[in-house]
């Protein structure tokens, strides 16, 4: 995916944004197709109650405010994630005041069955990954989420978090070191 993104030239991306400002549907289709997955994944990994719904709100705000935007691809992607980050904070505050009464099961829960062994292994893998992920600090988790799930570059992540690139580098280095250490410890423990 990253290779696809980097294959686009700045000129084509800027022309897409300009077309989106004019209300061209093809431009919005391209933007949504490229960014909706990372944005929704970012919102989900950060604990949004309804990531898909919140992601839709993020893109609606992007569409409303795109006339104020002026910049290149890096700035545009960062700008979209800044909006997502702020909407996430609002969503958390909203749910803190009004907690969900019913914890509904996810819609995509596969109740029909399948390859049980594969599912169990996948579940264990996810559980182990989550266990290790939880050992990281919040900043480390945030950087890894934006870089891997949000599919942002180092510079884009720095813009979203309003930190220097060197600070992002340090955070991701520590994060990967902590993950590797946890894996090694787990292996020793096992």
């Amino acid at each position: 995916m990253r290779s696809q993104i980097h294959s686009r030239t700045e000129t084509s991306y800027e022309s897409r944004v300009e077309a989106a400002k004019d209300g061209a549907e093809w431009a919005w289709a391209a933007i949504y197709e490229e960014l909706s997955g990372p944005v929704t994944g970012y919102l989900r990994s950060r604990g949004a109650a309804d990531p898909e719904d919140l992601s839709s709100e993020v893109f609606l705000q992007v569409a409303r405010d795109i006339h104020r935007f002026d910049g290149d691809e890096t700035k545009f992607r960062s700008w979209v994630f800044v909006i997502a980050h702020r909407r996430l904070i609002d969503d958390r505050r909203s749910h803190a005041r009004r907690p969900d009464e019913i914890d509904n099961p996810p819609d995509d829960l596969d109740l029909a069955g399948g390859d049980v062994e594969e599912e169990v292994m996948a579940h264990l893998s996810d559980a182990r990954m989550q266990e290790i992920f939880e050992t990281l600090t919040d900043d480390q988790r945030l950087v890894l989420t934006l870089r891997i799930i949000g599919d942002l570059t180092l510079e884009e992540t720095a813009l979203v978090l309003q930190k220097r690139v060197s600070a992002i580098k340090a955070l991701q280095r520590r994060a990967l070191g902590a993950v590797k250490a946890s894996i090694e410890r787990g292996r020793v423990t096992l």
Binding site: P51, H67, R128, D151, L176, K180, E184
Partner: protein, 298 residues
Amino acid sequence: MNPFLWHYMTRFSDREIELLLSGSREASDEHADLEWFLTALADQRPAPPHDVEHMATALASVARSSVPGGLRTRPRTAARRMVAVAASFVLLFTMSGIALAADGSAPGDLLYGIDQAFELIGIGDGGIDERIAEFDALINRGEDEAAYEFLEEVIESSREDESAEAEEHLDVVSDGRPGVAEDNVTEHQRFIEENKKDGVGADRREFGQGVADIVRIPDQDPPEQAAGNKPDTTPASNDNETGPPDGAGRPDDAGPPDDAGPPAEPRSRPNSQNQSPNGNQPTGASDSAGKADKSPRP
């Protein structure tokens, strides 16, 4: 810092980190376990959306409706709203001022028509009290004729209770002589109409004298009138006031003026000079205001 963690951290170069995070297979085998973790983390990313076209249509529509011109219209809209509110207040105050000014007007005034118009829509409608006040205003201005005509119209067009109130006020105005004033008005009007019809009004002096005779309300009725005899004129210049002839009964007792029948010859209408028993000549209606006799014409 934990020396154990520092040990692992120092094993990553910037390039290796970028390779790992970008999912490249070029990362060294030393970090294969990290690749497992990062792959599991990347799998948290949702599948590509199915509703791209539908969402793109909606987003494009939102973007089109949020053009910069739309942003500029907000202040314009707000400004228009403020101007509209200010204009409404100015209009309200102006209308209130006009209504207030018109409310105190009397028939014949410039604002009286406006007052009537406001009353039609329920603004400043004082009912019969206001009509009486207008009648008083005309009386105070010396426009007795207009006042009585006006009140007569009011009495005819009002409800029974309001008419009674107006008639009662008329009694009070007629200096405690109930029935005199309204009969006087009727007589007055009839005299004017008849003279108009017969062309007598050409002789202005005679005509004015006749009007003055009718309008004049006597201070004291002659004893003959109290006895039911045919009333006679009373000199307007009679200063020997002995109080209103309450005990003499209403002039109606002597019969309405119509009983005497219309004059056959309008030019023979009596003037005060011929009918005054003591020969006093009325000096005119203005001199005899409130003293006019209700004398049926012969």
